[in-house]
Symmetry: C2
Subunit: 211 residues, 2 copies
């Protein structure tokens, strides 16, 4: 959460009075508020109340609402971002399977799923939230995966792989369509990883898997 410039004239007295950790408490409260009410309806006042701070301190740390949303999204994506920093350097098969296992895995665990679900719901229904999500995911995740690829147009390939994984979690965990919703995770990984592999490796004409 570094990198947000402090503003001049910050309310130093209020900050001192709220005690240490207020920034982290604000982000935690923002995640809860965005998760339960969505981007559009989330209230800065409620977030401040949840964090036990003055609303002015929320604005001091984060500025406008979309900056606070970005911080909340970044916190929700933290496991994905840290894992993507340790992508395997090996064969493309390993990269595809690793990505598939990791991405589907963080959606299997309710603790990591719920905040992501909240982010996706906001991004699907609100243009501003979509823009924040898009920029963050592009800069922090897609470009990092693309750097591993040896295909034409690596960013497009990374996005097509991500599109497949996003679609699977959407139908499995949000729409909950059967039998996908109850399928064994290992079976899913075995079926999805080759399609991800296709996107990470196929030549410019799309190629075609052996029949």
């Amino acid at each position: 959460m570094t990198g947000v410039p402090r503003k001049r004239g910050r309310p130093a007295r209020a900050e001192a009075a709220e005690g240490p950790g207020s920034r982290e408490r604000i982000v935690a409260a923002a995640r809860a508020e965005f998760a339960s009410r969505g981007y559009d309806k989330a209230s800065i006042r409620a977030i401040a109340r949840g964090a036990g701070v003055d609303p002015a301190l929320v604005h001091h740390y984060f500025g406008p609402k979309e900056r606070l949303f970005a911080a909340a999204v970044e916190a929700s994506l933290a496991p994905a971002l840290s894992a993507s920093a340790t992508l395997p350097e090996g064969a493309p098969e390993d990269l595809a399977e690793e990505l598939t296992r990791f991405f589907l895995g963080i959606w299997e665990n309710p603790v990591t799923r719920e905040p992501l679900l909240a982010v996706v719901r906001s991004a699907v229904t609100d243009e501003t939230a979509a823009a924040v999500f898009r920029d963050l995911v592009s800069a922090r995740l897609m470009l990092r995966i693309a750097a591993h690829l040896d295909t034409p147009d690596p960013p497009l390939r990374a996005e097509l792989a991500a599109a497949h994984l996003v679609g699977v979690v959407l139908l499995r965990h949000v729409i909950k369509v059967e039998p996908l919703a109850s399928a064994d995770p290992a079976d899913l990984i075995a079926l999805v990883a080759p399609a991800i592999h296709h996107h990470l490796t196929a030549p410019a004409d799309g190629g075609r898997p052996a029949t």
Copy 2:
């Protein structure tokens, strides 16, 4: 829109007074209302006003709100449903490419995209809308595609193919992540169809495309 049983004690006088075509006008007004306000906030009263009928007539034709939503979704899916009735009987390659071309195609045209987008937004944010969408899509689309497949667990395969296509339109048309959002449709079809083909044909262990 057949198959909705008429209730006893229907307001025959009101129906006669509203004139012919009132049912169609209600569905059109419902599509507009669900599209602009989402499932949760959509109002039966506003739909009746939009259709120029009495709210009692809306309830008479459709019963509870989720039934009206189902009718609106079915109308929005009509092009997809009618096209899936004419899926090619040929080689699996043709089926994968045909499905990919068709599905991505209806999202390229704003006239067919907007109502689908509205349905997806409602389904992602509301549990009741998700259930309606799920049942309709399962019964009318997934099972029809699955009937063409010669793999283990055809419904799962049809859903994985659908998941990929849904993920692509989500990142392209809703989140609008670049370069996917601006990619040439023909290039996208060439890249995505082989992954769809994989799901429609791969053996039980998932197989692995030739590298």
